[in-house]
């Protein structure tokens, strides 16, 4: 009885699905789906290679410091970094004194209140403060940016596929639109063509546009490619500040587990030795 009911139900589901399949196939043949234009022009991120890649990869401290400078002098004008505090820059190799100076000299001050009147005001940042946002709120951010909201960059490299390479490719990927790009996909006013951006047209003006835009303290030549690479590495750190601890602990853990597994295997073989001896040989 239950099997008859089962066969009936199974036949029902199967028939409806095959019916849907046939209907779908007919539609597919009658009107083949058109691939969105974005598909043919969109590019996958380039891979410039970063020191922190791979299981032994560590952040390049010099690169992170250069990247911070690019963020501070270029990106931070529009993009917030809500999840990172100045004290975290210790990871980049800065001393306490240097961090205090960076915090004090940050272009945007930390929101505060006037201690006498209670009115909203700002004060220079301390090492314990989170990095202050360049705008008071999203409305102000949109108003200043042609109604586009510059996203927070703290997690950017984890919030996109192949994020670090994506950020690098996006920053270096501004070009003129290809000549065969249909009119409706061409950038409108206030938009810029970038083949790495999902819909090809991004509201962010090319942020890195001239060599030497940032003057590096360590004498590295600040080419656009170099600045893009450095700030991408910096954003990889802001998204995953514990990466080095994760990898080094991971290597120890895997090493321990390999030893443990070998020992477990030998004790298993040892305990089973008398039983395995009885096993037939074929």
């Amino acid at each position: 009885m239950i099997r008859l009911f089962g066969i009936a139900a199974g036949a029902g589901f199967t028939l409806i699905l095959l019916y849907s399949f046939v209907m779908g196939a007919v539609n597919f043949i009658k009107e083949p789906p058109v691939k969105a234009v974005e598909y043919s022009f969109h590019k996958h991120p380039e891979k410039p290679g970063f020191a922190h890649e791979g299981i032994f990869g560590k952040f390049d401290r010099g690169q992170l410091q250069r990247g911070l400078k690019v963020y501070q002098e270029v990106c931070a004008a529009c993009h917030s970094m809500n999840l990172v505090a100045f004290r975290n820059f210790e990871d980049l190799g800065y001393s306490e004194g240097q961090i205090k100076t960076i915090a004090k000299n940050w272009a945007t001050e930390t929101p505060s209140i006037n201690p006498d009147t209670g009115e909203a005001s700002t004060r220079p940042s301390l090492a314990s403060d989170q990095i202050p946002s360049p705008y008071l709120n999203d409305v102000q951010a949109r108003a200043a940016n042609n109604n586009a909201l510059p996203p927070d960059l703290s997690l950017m490299t984890k919030a996109r596929h192949d994020g670090t390479n994506y950020v690098y490719s996006l920053l270096t990927g501004y070009t003129d639109p290809p000549s065969d790009l249909p009119e409706e996909n061409r950038p409108g006013t206030g938009l810029y063509y970038n083949a790495y951006f999902a819909n090809l047209n991004i509201a962010m003006a090319p942020p890195l546009n001239s060599e030497g835009q940032v003057s590096y303290d360590d004498g590295t030549k600040a080419s656009i490619d170099q600045m893009a690479k450095d700030v991408s590495a910096f954003l990889a750190w802001t998204a995953e500040p514990k990466m080095e601890a994760r990898k080094s602990i991971g290597l120890g853990v895997i090493g321990f587990l390999i030893v443990f597994t070998f020992l477990a295997y030998f004790s298993y073989q040892n305990i089973w030795a008398d039983l395995k001896a009885q096993k037939r040989k074929d």
Partner: protein
């Protein structure tokens, strides 16, 4: 019940004797997973996965309880509180990544455990109750995992919650009201997040309870084995401890190596980047996909694209998706073959390896793919096979197939010599 030759618990010292006569908990453990539980001697590595699933649950509960000490279930701060765990809590990144990937590994081992049961027909009499309780655990796991994915309140959390609770709105008459009741509002919001957190915390303990029932029900007939024939004498069995504890120790090592490679070196490999974007109900992600372990069911849901006899496609999809799991509850009665093990069922075996397994893998791939052609057409064919396999092919071959001859005993299957003393 146990076998008459099972080892008897002997308290080792005066304290254990005192304990045994007052609260025989050590005796219970000895009989459940110690030397007092006789197990077939021929279990292969597929029998490791029950223990591994238990370990995975323990990992989830331990990491989860500590995460809950730092997490804040409020839509205003939930996302930032997860990042606070990742950045400021000591070893918080490890707890969170272990919990994230632990969920995936829990599903990996449970899927292998379930397919072990399907191939060796472990669901057949007298173990129907073990199978049914296992499916209850599976459903509870799915609910728990779904609600856990909502907690970080990222984009996929929010839109996943919206889509999955939206399934209930397909139910005629009561659907929309039911969805509002589940969400505590018209859209996922603070009420939703709070109740999901509460349920996500409590359900694992319910799962733990049902696992105890699952093991209890298993111990009535005892474990099945790769030949599928019953235990006939003492020689067919060995004590669980030390034989299978040693084998499980080795299996656990392999499991932990894979688990730790993902957790430490590619922790976000199984996740979706969109969940690192805070939830925003004004911005819909391009492709809303659930976690990978739901993909086969998600593919079945989306395979229904046309209304049929005035039944809307969405409702058909919802019925089929739930039906694809519910039908497993009927397997013990759909499959009437007297032989359990797939090794001795030539036709069943072919359909299993060349039909069911590729079908499930394909559905898994399609569930993660965008809802476009040709993915949708493929998922229609694969879903059709899924239902046909369990509801039509399996009942029919179980009646018509001629099984291969079975060995006389487990001992004979292993050693080639007959069992000397039949019990």
């Amino acid at each position: 019940m146990s076998f008459p030759w099972a080892n008897q618990y002997q308290p080792e010292n005066e304290f254990m004797k005192w304990m045994d006569s007052r609260l025989p908990l050590p005796r219970l453990i000895y009989n459940a997973i110690g030397a007092g539980y006789p197990v077939p001697r021929n279990l292969n590595y597929f029998w490791n996965f029950g223990v591994l699933a238990g370990v995975a649950l323990v990992i989830q509960i331990l990491t989860g309880v500590i995460l809950a000490m730092h997490y804040a279930a409020n839509v205003g701060v939930a996302f930032d509180s997860v990042e606070h765990i990742m950045r400021n809590v000591n070893s918080g990144w490890l707890l969170r990544y272990a919990h994230m990937n632990g969920a995936s590994f829990f599903f990996i081992v449970v899927y292998i455990h379930i397919f072990r049961g399907l191939f060796y027909s472990s669901y057949k009499a007298p173990r129907e109750m073990v199978w049914l309780l296992g499916l209850v655990i599976f459903l509870l796991m799915m609910a728990t995992a779904f609600m856990g994915y909502v907690l970080p309140w990222g984009q996929m959390s929010f839109w996943g919650a919206k889509v999955i609770t939206g399934l209930f709105s397909a139910i005629p008459l009561v659907g929309p009201a039911l969805q509002e009741w589940l969400l505590g509002g018209f859209s996922p919001d603070n009420a939703t997040l709070n109740r999901f957190f509460s349920l996500h915390f409590v359900l694992p303990f319910v799962i733990f309870g049902v696992i105890i029932l699952h093991i209890w029900a298993l111990h009535i007939p005892g474990s099945s084995n790769p030949t599928g024939i019953e235990i006939k004498g003492q020689q067919d069995t060995i004590p669980f401890h030390p034989y299978y504890t040693a084998k499980d120790g080795f299996g656990l090592g392999i499991f932990l190596i894979f688990f730790c490679i993902l957790t430490f070196f590619m922790p976000n490999f199984l996740g979706h980047p969109d969940n690192y974007i805070p939830a925003n109900e004004l911005s819909t992600p391009a492709h809303i996909v659930p976690e990978w372990y739901f993909w086969p069911f998600y593919a079945i849901l989306r395979a229904f694209t046309f209304d049929f006899l005035f039944i809307p496609a969405k409702l058909l999809g919802v019925i089929a998706m739930f039906g694809s799991i519910l039908l497993l509850f009927f397997l013990p009665w759909l499959d009437k073959s007297p032989v359990r093990s797939g090794h001795y069922r030539p036709i069943f075996r072919k359909f299993f390896w060349f039909g069911l397994i590729p079908c499930i893998l394909l559905l898994g791939y399609l569930g993660g793919a965008p809802a476009e052609e040709p993915y949708v057409m493929l998922s229609q064919l694969a879903s059709a096979y899924y239902f046909a396999h369990f509801l039509i092919i399996l009942p029919i071959i179980s009646m018509t197939e001629k099984p291969k001859p079975l060995p006389n005993s487990i001992t004979e299957a292993v050693t080639g010599k007959p069992l000397e003393s039949a019990a």
